[in-house]
């Protein structure tokens, strides 16, 4: 039964990767990679049950953290063209 879940998640990952390859704008690709990351989090937990070693759930938690931070970093880079600067005219003022 967990094998069915893992196969379904792999199919969904393939569809999301197709969107990442097709995506017209860069945001489609970022969205598709974020979706693939979420599915990786689920797949890691399912693999833990599939192999009878539930320690994989810890890897799943770590992957969720990395996925979120990676998405935010890529988006910040595309919005500001830089990872440490603010948008010109931002209300938060200069540092």
């Amino acid at each position: 039964m967990f094998a069915v879940a893992a196969a379904g998640i792999l199919v969904a990952m393939a569809m999301a990767m197709a969107r990442a390859l097709l995506g017209p704008t860069v945001f489609d690709r970022v969205l598709a990679l974020n979706t693939v990351g979420t599915k990786t989090v689920i797949l890691l937990a399912v693999i833990g049950f599939l192999t009878g070693r539930p320690d994989w759930v810890d890897l799943s938690l770590v992957y969720a953290l990395i996925n979120f931070i990676g998405t935010i970093a890529v988006l910040k880079f595309f919005e500001y063209g830089d990872l440490g600067r603010q948008r010109p005219g931002s209300r938060e003022g200069n540092r």
Binding site: M1, F2, V4, A5, G8, I9, V11, A12, M13, M15, A16, A18, R19, T25, F27, D28, V30, L31, A32, N34, T35, T38, K39, V41, I42, A45, V46, F49, P54, V57, D58, S60, L61, A64, L65, F68, T71, I72, L75, K76, F78, E79, R87
Partner: protein, 107 residues
């Protein structure tokens, strides 16, 4: 009791798989970024929620179930933040939202 828990958890896992597949189909088929964000959000909340719920029922009353629900809680907080940041960045980059063409232009 074990049979009831099994049936409950398999139902949850199948429902989660359904939501994951439908949400990803939406990511593949929707017309523009904002619509695709909508479908991807459903994958993160409903699909992952049902799958982790089913797996934690399988795990029983243990630390493993707590950890599984912790992963889901983390996804529950980060998914809307990521979606919001993506939509905001796309708007600032002047990605035009998809509009339904007027009835005369439809093929």
């Amino acid at each position: 009791m074990s049979l009831v828990a099994d049936i409950l958890s398999w139902t949850c896992i199948l429902a989660g798989l359904f939501f994951v597949l439908v949400g990803t189909l939406g990511v593949l088929r929707m017309p523009d970024v904002y619509c695709r964000l909508h479908a991807a959000g459903m994958t993160d909340t409903m699909g992952a929620g049902f799958l982790f719920l089913g797996m934690s029922i399988q795990a029983g009353w243990s630390l493993l179930a707590v950890r599984l629900l912790l992963v889901y809680g983390f996804l529950l907080f980060t998914s809307p933040i990521g979606t919001h940041a993506l939509a905001r960045t796309a708007l600032f980059a002047k990605v035009e939202p998809y509009r339904v063409p007027p009835p005369g232009d439809r093929v």
